[in-house]
């Protein structure tokens, strides 16, 4: 894993910026300058490194150890080596829950990004009541999944839901949504994208607000139309924020859980069962903490691989100005 990371790491810092050697400083010996610089780096890094090492990486190492045991949280753990991994890798259900998770991401990411971008662009104009509207678009982000799931189950009710009623008006027979194994995941995707639009909007708005209006004015003077300005000025300048949104959405998307739990509980018939729900069930309901930890590490490897690809690809399109 370290090798994998190291390889990726070579590319992580594509956007690195730093000041060259200090210029107007009293001359010092090279050695004392180096010590001073090391101390500076430590001073900036340790406040975050200490909690991360102690309270995230430490438990991660412990989880790796647990993944090599059979443990129901009640009796002492029993060492089983790589048996949990072997079981998971040969169980067809593992492939299934990973596929469901990927299905979720593939549907969710374009929807939430394009929707969030459109809203951010729309609300970055001189619209009356703009602040209030931003608040309204942010509401779903802060509403709990219990409530959101109830509302969406009602909107997408196959018999008398709003969506199917509207579709019927146009002569289309609506699908069974969450009650139909083929439509359960699309239902979750719709509700999730709707809920997270405000999240993407907030990140992209912060990016848009940092864009120099003079650049856009200059483009307009040059005769660039709206679309042209969007593609040649706004989007390139927004690319660091976009990169952030995509990396974070992928990391979070692979760990989708709350919405599945609240909307379908993984059903019908396991059709929307995802990886983290399985991890939760295995740990706290089925008494299989070892298997849950092993599954988490498999998930970790997948997310890491996807993120590494992201980071390696960023130099092609992310523009740090």
């Amino acid at each position: 894993m370290t090798a994998l990371l190291g390889e990726a790491a070579a590319d992580v810092g594509d956007g690195d910026r730093h000041v060259g050697a200090p210029v107007a400083r009293p001359p010092r010996t090279r050695r004392s300058r180096r010590i001073r610089y090391t101390l500076t780096v430590l001073a900036f890094l340790l406040p975050s490194a200490i909690p991360i090492v102690l309270f995230v990486l430490g438990p991660m190492v412990a989880a790796a150890w647990i993944s090599l045991t059979e443990w129901n949280l009640l009796s002492p753990a029993k060492w089983v080596g790589f048996e949990n991994y072997a079981n998971l890798l040969t169980d067809p259900e593992t492939a299934e829950i990973f596929l469901h998770t990927v299905y979720y991401i593939v549907g969710y990411l374009p929807l939430v990004y394009l929707g969030g971008l459109a809203i951010a662009l729309g609300l970055n104009t001189a619209l009356r009541g703009r602040t209030l509207l931003r608040g309204v678009y942010f509401l779903p982000v802060v509403t709990s999944w219990i409530v959101v799931a109830l509302v969406w189950r009602w909107l997408l009710n196959p018999v008398n839901g709003v969506v199917n009623t509207v579709l019927a008006f146009f002569g289309i027979e609506g699908p069974g949504w969450w009650a139909d194994p083929a439509w359960a995941m699309p239902s979750i995707i719709l509700a999730s994208a709707w809920k997270d639009l405000g999240f993407v909007m907030v990140i992209l708005l912060a990016g848009l607000q940092s864009i120099d209006p003079e650049l856009l004015d200059a483009a307009r003077v040059d005769g660039a139309g709206w679309w042209r300005r969007l593609f040649s000025v706004t989007l390139p300048l927004l690319s660091p924020a976009t990169f952030f949104v995509i990396v974070i959405s992928l990391i979070n998307g692979f760990q989708v859980f709350d919405q599945v739990y609240a909307m379908t509980g993984g059903g019908p018939g396991g059709a929307s069962q995802v990886v983290v729900q399985q991890i939760y069930d295995l740990t706290f309901r089925y008494g299989k903490a070892g298997e849950a930890s092993a599954l988490s590490w498999l998930l970790f490897i997948v997310i890491l691989a996807v993120t590494v690809v992201q980071i390696r690809g960023q130099r092609k399109w992310v523009n740090y100005g």
Binding site: L45, F55, N124, L133, V142, I251, I303
Partner: protein
């Protein structure tokens, strides 16, 4: 100001378009402006509806969840809120949640900003690897970390203390990554100018870089606060004394073993949403002023 007419300029030119002599371009701009308003407002209604429904249910005493939500409370009353306040030690749980959220937010702002500065401005051997490891901490679900983390804090004697609830939230890769992206966009020439004036890294960090990433800092503040305010699993596990309970855990208690009083659950939901909304709106104001004040761009 940076906030006004950056991307969609049709609205700004809309006022010009109301003059009698309409050029085709102005007419198009007006049409675009109207379309934009309609789309945004319809979208806002879609966004607002679930919250509205929560509000209506919370104001309909004794109502269960009806299979078809009604648009107006059947028999409006504040009973659910009264019951909520009498069932929960409300001041205490809200106070606990606020305390944890404020401390988490402040500490995370510090740890994220300093780490982001190191990753953006201070080259050192293995820096990209360290950044990769930071990012990797987001890739393991909390569900499997809870048990080892709990055992570790027990060994430190921190179970059932505010500190035990707080420590694991003190640094988060999300915020570090967010601020690093913002810092990477601050022109390095600004650092160099300050450096020529004799500024060291601490001064550049404080007076050059931080003021230029205010929108990102405000955004992080909102998300850090929200993360703490809504966090459930860890506070549930680590805080047990009734005096230390947080709002989400207390609200979860409104769902019983066999039955749930939905009007009270919805009232609790309204009450937990409002502070978050207030913080977001406040942060928005700050962002806009912040950008206006720096004079950069």
């Amino acid at each position: 100001m940076a906030d006004t007419t950056t991307a969609v300029d049709g609205v700004a030119s809309g006022s010009r378009a109301r003059r009698p002599a309409r050029t085709p371009a102005a007419r198009a701009a007006l049409g675009r402006s109207i379309a934009l308003h309609v789309v945004i407002v319809v979208g806002a209604l879609l966004m607002f509806f679930p919250f509205y429904w929560t509000l209506v249910t919370s104001l309909s005493p004794g109502s269960g969840l009806t299979s078809t939500p009604s648009l107006l409370p059947a028999d409006p009353g504040l009973e659910a809120y009264v019951q909520l306040f009498s069932q929960l030690p409300f001041a205490r749980v809200v106070g606990n949640s606020l305390l944890l959220a404020v401390i988490t937010t402040l500490v995370q702002l510090v740890t994220s900003a300093t780490a982001a500065y190191a990753f953006s401005r201070l080259p050192f051997p293995g820096r990209t690897l360290v950044f990769g490891i930071y990012l990797a901490t987001m890739m393991i679900p909390l569900q499997v970390l809870v048990v080892p983390l709990f055992a570790e804090l027990k060994a430190f004697g921190l179970v059932d203390t505010y500190l035990g609830a707080l420590l694991p939230t003190f640094a988060a890769a999300f915020g570090i990554f967010l601020l690093r992206q913002a810092m990477n966009q601050v022109p390095v020439e600004l650092d160099e100018a300050a450096s020529i004036d004799g500024a060291g890294h601490f001064r550049i960090f404080w007076t050059v870089v931080l003021p230029n990433i205010r929108p990102a800092i405000a955004t992080l503040a909102v998300f850090a606060f929200m993360g703490s305010w809504n966090s459930f699993l860890w506070p549930l596990v680590v805080l047990r004394s009734p005096e230390l309970q947080t709002l989400p855990v207390a609200l979860a208690g409104l769902q019983g073993q066999y039955t749930t009083q939905w009007d009270i659950v919805m009232a609790g939901s309204v009450i937990s949403i409002l502070p978050m909304l207030a913080i977001y709106l406040f942060a928005q104001k700050y962002v806009i002023q912040g950008v206006a004040n720096t004079g950069l761009k």
